[in-house]
Structure formats: structure tokens, C-alpha cells
């Protein structure tokens, strides 16, 4: 309506005034006309000055202003004002029309009709809009979703695209229409772009080519009632029985203040849930869910909020993740320097963990060792490993209270390399011969630790303190400190545990290290009790207490804190330890027809990278057919090989990588990827108005909604590029000018009457 009023008064739309250039076409030269007008104005003012009677100087001033204004308007009209506007030459230019045919266009958020109904209605072959466009332009039609292609018309679109990728579509169309005079591109979409590619380069290219983009946004910016689950991040593989803590985001509109349940399912069986109270509309809330992966194999875990009444889009209520739950045995070497109860109770805590083999090398006297859980009599028969091959067979190393002088420098170096190069997990325990008290300051192992070795107490072995241990914020988010089913219960459980003792005041955290547990003592202030850091490829963890077994002996019999803590500690310690051959996939899923890149890393027994190895991936599809994909050495990275395959059909694919090295053949554990149509279209599927406005703004185009799209053909004519002519639009007969003159005359008459001057 406001646009119509403007057009009525000013004869043309605001766009014409913005795009046009004002000029004056008067037949009389300005040099004559302007002085004449000035002279007439001066005479008018002089005549008013001579008027006597009741008129005051103020009255004369007002009347003079009115008279001068009236003369000015008349003079403006006499000057024959006009707007010079570039207009496209009919039928000489092209316009590309791109229509989004992804699944989000099926959403019915405007009455009962889907978004795609607008396309048929306004851009159908017989529609008035198309007819008006065809009067001026040569039209070319394109459809786009995860890819784009030219179509003859829009009637055959089925809106089944699994992704929306606007930038690549614009690039493709711009390139295809580059040889012809292009007035602009029209993009009809909801703007729910879920492509990985950025838009900036595309817009710069369009701007450089002077191709404006006119975007037509469909759908609502916000749904009345909808819940959406997003940002679910899970590990790609875990050991069977592992406890997982997963963070995700819940967004909603229309459910503020309500409580919903986030449920976790393992192939349909519920394994965890978390209640969440929804905040104000539009405000996302982070949710943390806890569950255990008890079943082995490639498992699909679904995170879901059950459908609520009145929800518009249900497909965005769940996300799933493919996690490879491995049922293999992990070997951990625990070297303890003296008999102590920590050994007994750690062994008891994990004795039912069939996937963890805790090999114990226990020193019982000066040169006497006792071994447990070894695979053969030869294992560790000479004591602590002396070669990399021997040590690197283990996935993690636990060091008890063993003085540093027990190790040679080479062994010390080897332990640091075990973490940084082999990628093994290292856990050091507190005790009278640990840390500074054990003489570790300045050793290669000290470099790996997440805490500085505090030497201010020297090697004083009489010092000890009693600590109240509590988790940090980071600790509450880590499975190791999850000693109860929920975070709140876990925080309360920590408060009830008995105090522990330490003879090792630990130093400060290193940059990049994180404390999961802290302790406050009678003598020491707050100090880290459990801290970790990444050191090279591996994980280094420091535990600064010596008697966690008190958590088993002292609490009531039914308390499982000690077992839970140690099971989760050891699982976490080995969670990312690589094998000699490891396979990395970009994601846990891909769409059919989309290339999947494989990367394999190959190490020898000493975990030194192997180049020039023959590496092949056997890709088994869901139907059982096997495709062999050779992987080539990347050259830039030692031991890294890459290849790709394109899955033709949906289903679970298994990838087995084999490497032939000088030392013999090696195999990686199988990796899995789910090939499925993407459901990302249903997430963030609201109208992305800001994105579409940005595209229009940065390219010199305009943004439309279904309500304003009718002016598109004229706007394209005026603002478009290509072959244009200059058109003159006269302004002297604008109704607003006549109205202004009449208004001023009426105002003068009224003023005179009021003042008694009429």
C-alpha cells in the first residue's frame, strides 16, 4: 500500500528514482528561466511589503514564503524535469532463473501448501510473471540442490534434493551464461544452505562480472512450534562397554518453559536419556547425555526428542551417529615400583573388563619382579621393556611409584616417544617415588606430563597432605569423573568420598593441559589431582594421589565409585591410541554418488612411518560386492596414503585396509561408513532471509518475498545489466506537484481569512 501511494503521487516506483538520474528538459534556457523566476519572486515579496492594513511583518513573511514556494513549484514544472533510466533492450538480454528443488521446499509452513507451490503458481509457464519476464528477456531455467543443472522448464521438479548448495549453483550458472548478455539471476529458495563451501568468493565473482542476483525467499523465518536437535558430536570408535558423554544443542520455538526428554537409542534400544527444560523461544540450550556402548560392531546411535504436539517439522527432532564399538583387547602395561594396595584394587576394578588386559610388572624387591596377565613366559622376562618394539606393543603405560633412576636414559626417552610418536596413553600415579620425589624433574618423561614437576619440596619423602578431591567443570564433562548416572548425581557423589593422601605436591598445569580433578589439602592449596594433555599423538595423564583404593574400602559395599573411576580412566587412556595401520574417513556418512576420501597411516613395529608401502582398501558395499581402491602415498606426509571411492548405493559400507611393508603385511581394523540420503535439509530449514538479502545486496540485486515479487520484471529491466537503452521518464506531470500548488494556494487563502486580510 505505501508503495502504491508513492507511485500514485510520484508517478513511478521508488526504485526508478533510485536508479534514475535527474535531468531538466526545458525548451527555454536555464540561463533565462532562473533569473525570470527570481524576478517574479522579488516582485511578489515587494508587493506584500507595500500592503498596509492589518498585516504584520510576520504575516507578510508567511505570505511571501507561500507565494515563493508556489512559484518555485511552477518553475520546477516549467523546467521539464525527467529521470534518465537505463532500461534493458527487450529480448536482447538473458535472465537465469534458479529454483531450489531440495526437500526443504516441501515444508508446508504457509497454510496448507508447500513452499514449492509458489514456484508453480508464480513461475509456471502460463503465469503472468513469466509472461512479463518473457516480454523483456530470454529466460533460462536451472534447478539446484546438492548439484545444479539446466532444465527446460520448472514443471518437472520433484523437490527431492538432499542438500542445498547455493554458491556452487550460482558459480555454475554464471559460467554457463557468461557468453551471453546477462541481465541478472533470479534465485527462488528458502535459503537453508547447508553446503560446506563459503559464499564470499561466489559473490565477489558475481560482482566482478556485474551480474546482480535477485533472491526470492520462501517460507517463514521462524516456525510457530518446532524443536530441533543439532551439533551432536560423538567419537568415531570406542571400546565395548565405554561410557560416553555427548553434548548436543536443542533449539526451539513455541515451547518455552516446557520440559522435554532427550533420548539416546542404540539401534532402537534406549540406552540413555536426559530431561531438559526449554528456555525462551529462539534460545538454544546445550544438553549433555550419558550412555554406555554395550553392543559391539558398527552401531547407529540416535539422539531424539519425541515429537511434540503441533510441531511443524518432525524430521529435525533427531540426529544419529555411527559409532564403531570395538570388541578387541587392549593391552596396558602397569609398572609398579613396590607392592601397594593400589595395584590390588585397580586390578579388581577392571577384572571384569574383558577388553582390557592389564599386564602387571610389579617390583617386589630390589631386583625381583612379579608379572601378571602376561601372554607368554617371555613377556617382560628382563623387566621393563628395553626396546621400542617391546614397549610399543602396549596401547597404554601406567607408571606407579618407581624412581627415575630405575630407567636408563634410553628407556626414559622411549617412554616419552611412546606417547608422542606411538600415540600411546601414559598415566603416572602418585607415590613416595613419583614426580619430584622420584627424581623425574628434567627428564624426557617430565616433558610429556601435563603438570610441571614441583621441586620446591626437593625429594623430601616425609611430606604428605590429605586432599579433598573434587571435579572441575572440565572434569564433570569427562567420562572419567562421571561416577554417577547424571552430572548432578556425580557432583554430589564426589562430595561424599573419603579424602586421599599425596606425598607429591604437583606443580602448575602446563599450557594446553586440563585439570579434571583438583584437591584442597591441609597444607597445600588447590592443586591438580588429575590432569591431562595431548603430547604428540598420544595422551599423557597425571594422577597426583597414592591411595584411590580408599574409595573402595571405606564407602559402603554397594558404592561402585572406585570401579567406575578406574574402568573409565583406562578406557579413556586408550580411546585414541592408533594401531600400526589406521584408516580415517571424513565423516560417519556420505550421500550416494558423493566421493568418499580415505586416508591411511602406516607405521612399522617401532611406530616409525613407512613410505612406499603398497596399500589397498577393500570396500565392501551393503550388497556384498567388493571394490578394491588403491591408496597412494601423499608424499607430503610420511606414512600417509590416500584414495577415494564413490558409493553408488545406500547402506553400510565396510572398509578393510591392507598394507604390504618390508616387514610383512599389516591390516587395519575395519572402518565403517553409512551411505544414505542426507537429512540435513530439515535442519535450519527456516527462511534464511539474511543470507538471501546479503546475496542480493552484495551483487546489486534485490530481495523479494512472495508478496513483493510482482515487481520483479520491471525491477530487472531497470536495474539489470546487459544491453540497455536510456529511457526518459517525465516528472513535470507528477500529481504531487499539482497537489502541492493547490495546497499552498489553499493555505494562503486560509491564512488571509484567519488574519482578516482577505
Amino acid at each position: 500500500m505505501p508503495g502504491s501511494i508513492f507511485e500514485f503521487l510520484f508517478k513511478y516506483r521508488p526504485l526508478v528514482f533510485r536508479e534514475g538520474r535527474l535531468t531538466f528538459e526545458s525548451p527555454v534556457a536555464l540561463a533565462l528561466l532562473v533569473p525570470a523566476i527570481v524576478l517574479l519572486s522579488a516582485i511578489a515579496v515587494w508587493t506584500y511589503r507595500r500592503v498596509g492594513g492589518k498585516a504584520t511583518p510576520g504575516d507578510r513573511l508567511v505570505l511571501s514564503i507561500i507565494r515563493v514556494a508556489t512559484l518555485a513549484i511552477i518553475a520546477f514544472s516549467l523546467l521539464r524535469p525527467a529521470l534518465l533510466v537505463s532500461n534493458v533492450v527487450p529480448q536482447q538480454n538473458y535472465v537465469g532463473i534458479l529454483v531450489d528443488d531440495s526437500r526443504s521446499m516441501r515444508i508446508t509452513d504457509n497454510g496448507d501448501a508447500p513452499r514449492s507451490a509458489f514456484v508453480g503458481q508464480e513461475f509456471g509457464a502460463e503465469s503472468e510473471l513469466i509472461r512479463r519476464l518473457e516480454d523483456r528477456f530470454q529466460l533460462r531455467y536451472f534447478r539446484f540442490s546438492s548439484n545444479s543443472e539446466r532444465v527446460t522448464d520448472l514443471a518437472g521438479l520433484d523437490y527431492t534434493g538432499s542438500r542445498t548448495r547455493i554458491a556452487p549453483a550460482l558459480d555454475r550458472v554464471r559460467e554457463e551464461l557468461a557468453p551471453v548478455p546477462l541481465s541478472g539471476l533470479v534465485v527462488i529458495t528458502d535459503g537453508a544452505d547447508n553446503a560446506a563451501a563459503g559464499l564470499t568468493e561466489t559473490l565477489l565473482a558475481l560482482k566482478a562480472a556485474q551480474v546482480p542476483v535477485y533472491t526470492v525467499g520462501l517460507g517463514r523465518e521462524r516456525y510457530d512450534r518446532d524443536i530441533e536437535l543439532s551439533r551432536v558430536s560423538t567419537p568415531r570408535q570406542v571400546l565395548k562397554g565405554a561410557s560416553l558423554v555427548v553434548d548436543l544443542l536443542v533449539s526451539q520455538s513455541g515451547f518455552a518453559g516446557e520440559t522435554v526428554n532427550v533420548v539416546v537409542e542404540d539401534e532402537g534400544a534406549i540406552v540413555g536419556s536426559q530431561e531438559v527444560k526449554l528456555p525462551a523461544d529462539g534460545e538454544p540450550v546445550p544438553v549433555r547425555v550419558h550412555f554406555t556402548a554395550d553392543q559391539a560392531g558398527p552401531r547407529r546411535f540416535t539422539f531424539r526428542v519425541p515429537a511434540q504436539t503441533g510441531e511443524l517439522v518432525l524430521e529435525n527432532n533427531e540426529q544419529d551417529a555411527l559409532i564403531d564399538v570395538r570388541d578387541n583387547t587392549i593391552k596396558i602395561l602397569y609398572f609398579e615400583g613396590e607392592p601397594r594396595f593400589e595395584v590390588k584394587f585397580i586390578r579388581r576394578a577392571i577384572e571384569e573388563e574383558k577388553n582390557l588386559q592389564l599386564v602387571l610388572l610389579q617390583r617386589t624387591a630390589e631386583s625381583k619382579f612379579w608379572r601378571a596377565a602376561i601372554d607368554s613366559p617371555q613377556e617382560l622376562e628382563h623387566g621393563f621393556p628395553r626396546t621400542r618394539e617391546e614397549l610399543f606393543r602396549y596401547q597404554a603405560l601406567i607408571l606407579g611409584t618407581v624412581e627415575a633412576s630405575v630407567f636408563t636414559h634410553e628407556q626414559m626417552r622411549m617412554m616419552a616417544d611412546f606417547v608422542s610418536e606411538r600415540g600411546g596413553g601414559l598415566l603416572t600415579l602418585g607415590g613416595r617415588h613419583s614426580y619430584a620425589q622420584g627424581g623425574y624433574a628434567g627428564t624426557p618423561l617430565a616433558d610429556a606430563l601435563p603438570v610441571e614437576i614441583e621441586t620446591s619440596y626437593g625429594t623430601d619423602t616425609t611430606f604428605f597432605d590429605s586432599l579433598r578431591v573434587t571435579p572441575t567443570r572440565a572434569g564433570l564433562a569427562n567420562p572419567v569423573a562421571q561416577i554417577a548416572p547424571t552430572e548432578d548425581a556425580s557432583a554430589k557423589a564426589w562430595e561424599k568420598l573419603p579424602r586421599l593422601t599425596t606425598p607429591n605436591p604437583l606443580g602448575s598445569l602446563k599450557p594446553g593441559a586440563t585439570a579434571l580433578l583438583v584437591g584442597k589439602g591441609d597444607h597445600l592449596g588447590d592443586q591438580p589431582v588429575l590432569a591431562w594433555q595431548r603430547f604428540g599423538r598420544g595422551l599423557a595423564v597425571a594422577l597426583g594421589v597414592q591411595d584411590t583404593w580408599l574409595w573402595q574400602m571405606v564407602p559402603p559395599l554397594e558404592d561402585m565409585t572406585h570401579e567406575t573411576f578406574w574402568r573409565q580412566m583406562l578406557r579413556w587412556l586408550v580411546s585414541s591410541t592408533p594401531d600400526q595401520v589406521t584408516v580415517t574417513l571424513p565423516a560417519d556418512r556420505a550421500a550416494p554418488g558423493e566421493a568418499v576420501r580415505l586416508i591411511a597411516e602406516v607405521d612399522d613395529a617401532a611406530f616409525l612411518r613407512v613410505n612406499n608401502s603398497a596399500v589397498i582398501a577393500h570396500v565392501t558395499r551393503a550388497d556384498g560386492t567388493v571394490e578394491d581402491v588403491p591408496l597412494d602415498w601423499t608424499i607430503e606426509q610420511d606414512g600417509e596414503y590416500q584414495g577415494a571411492f564413490t558409493p553408488p548405493s545406500t547402506g553400510l559400507y565396510r572398509i578393510d585396509v591392507e598394507a604390504t611393508t618390508p616387514a610383512g603385511p599389516l591390516k587395519a581394523r575395519p572402518a565403517f561408513i553409512s551411505i544414505e540420503e542426507s537429512r540435513s535439509e530439515y535442519f535450519g530449514s527456516q527462511l534464511n532471509k539474511s543470507l538471501l538479502q546479503r546475496i542480493a545486496r552484495e551483487t546489486g540485486g534485490r530481495f523479494y518475498t512472495p508478496a513483493t515479487v510482482r515487481t520483479l520484471p520491471e525491477d530487472l529491466s531497470i536495474t539489470g545489466r546487459g544491453s540497455t537503452i536510456v529511457e526518459e521518464k517525465e516528472l513535470w506531470d507528477m500529481p504531487v506537484l499539482l497537489l502541492l500548488v493547490l495546497s499552498l494556494m489553499a493555505a494562503e487563502w486560509l491564512f488571509r481569512r484567519q488574519k482578516g486580510l482577505a
Partner: protein, 268 residues
Amino acid sequence: MRRPRTNRAAATAAVVLMLASTSARSSGQGDRVTDRPGTERAKLRAQRPHAFYFTRGIYSGWSRFGRRGGGSWATDWPKSDRTFLTVLQRLTNVDAFPEEHGVLLDDPELRRFPFLYILEVGRMGLTPGEAKGLRLYMLNGGFVMVDDFWGSYEWANFEEQMRAVLPEYPIEEIPLDHEIFRTFYQIDEIIQVPQIGNAMTGRTWEQDGYVPHVRGIFDDKRRLMMVINWNTDLGDAWEWAESPYYPVPYSTYAFKVGVNTVIYAMSH
């Protein structure tokens, strides 16, 4: 290459004699149970916690005349404990509290000491609180070493007491191939260790306890919770190791059993 057992046994015996004699000169009665403030024991206890405490379980019992009371739990205390600890620290690298240490069976603090030694159980008469304390102690992971009781009469009393503590777990014979017999020393036979009085006469048995047994109570995961040395007196062998009247082989054997038991209890 492993040294022959005979050489090691002889060396152990020599060390035992030497250390036992040292311990005998330095031992004394001292404070029996509590660490009264200001005493040497109290000061020792206030120092840094040790990894191992040879803890005596203090229980209620019956005197020889059938009256409640008596000092059965304190038999051989504290010399036996101190001698054993001296030898333990010399032969192994266990970080042991060097003195005797007693805790009541119904004291909640008992669970802070996962190794427990009780003896003369033939005259043990547990109160309900003590029975419960001992039960929870073992089920939570504590290990109990029982010693020095003889004959069928005393066995019957002990068995009755244990029925009140762990009725669901039977007492079983521990076979010689069990790990407790090889954690530190290899023990190939069960030797009957006499008390000093009998040792001087050449007789090793008491009452009708002619045959020594090593029995145990296992939990439902087959973990040994209690080792029961019946018809033998290891404590006396520790206590009188330095005495010229007490045969060295018995002490040597008793220390081996003790060391094995401690190492086993701290690792299984």
C-alpha cells in the same frame, strides 16, 4: 638364570637370624593399642602414611576359664609383629609401618588397613558389631590372615564364628598350586610350625592338631579373602626367630609364608 632354592633359603635364613636378633634387642612392650598423644608411636603414626600396616584385629574372646575377656588377640604382641616387619622390609621393598598396629574389628577405621592378622581364634567370640565389621571389611576387599589355633575343638569355635561373619561362603582347602604359594617364594610343602615350648621338645603339634592345613575363604569371583593357617603357629616362629632354642627352619618357613601372604594380599 635363577639361583638354586637351597642357596636362597640359606641366605634367607641367615638374614632372618641376623635381623631377628636386632629386632629382639630393640623391641619392647610399648603401647599396646592406642597411640596416646606424645608417645613415640603417636609421633610415628602422625608421619606420612605408609603403604602397608601389619594390623592386628582386636576381637572379643573367651579366657581359658570360659570367661569373656582375656588377651587372645594380643598373643605374641608386639614382638612377633615387629620382628616380622623388620624381616619384611629387609627382604622386600614394601613400604611398611615399622611397628605393631592394632584396630578393633568394629572400628570403622579398620577399612583403612586392607591387611588384617588375627590369631588364637580358637578362643574368639565375636560380638555382632565385630562380626559385621569383619564381614564388611572382607567383602569390600580387605584380606585376613588367620594364625595360631589348634585342634578340632578350636576349629569348631572358629568355624562357628565365621558362620556369623560370612555364612554364604564355605571354608576350603587351598591347594599347593595356588598363587599365594609362589608370589615371592616358592613354597612346595606345608610345614607345621610349633610354638617355642613344643619346639624345644621336638613336638610340633598341640591338642589333636597333628596335621597343618592352609585353608581359605573365597568370594563369588574366586578371590581369596581369608587365609587360615590351622594347626601351626607362624607368629611364634617370628617372635622367637633369634632365640637359639627355636629351630631356624621353622622361622625361615614362617617368614616365607608371611612375606608371600603380604605380597599376595597387596596385589590380588
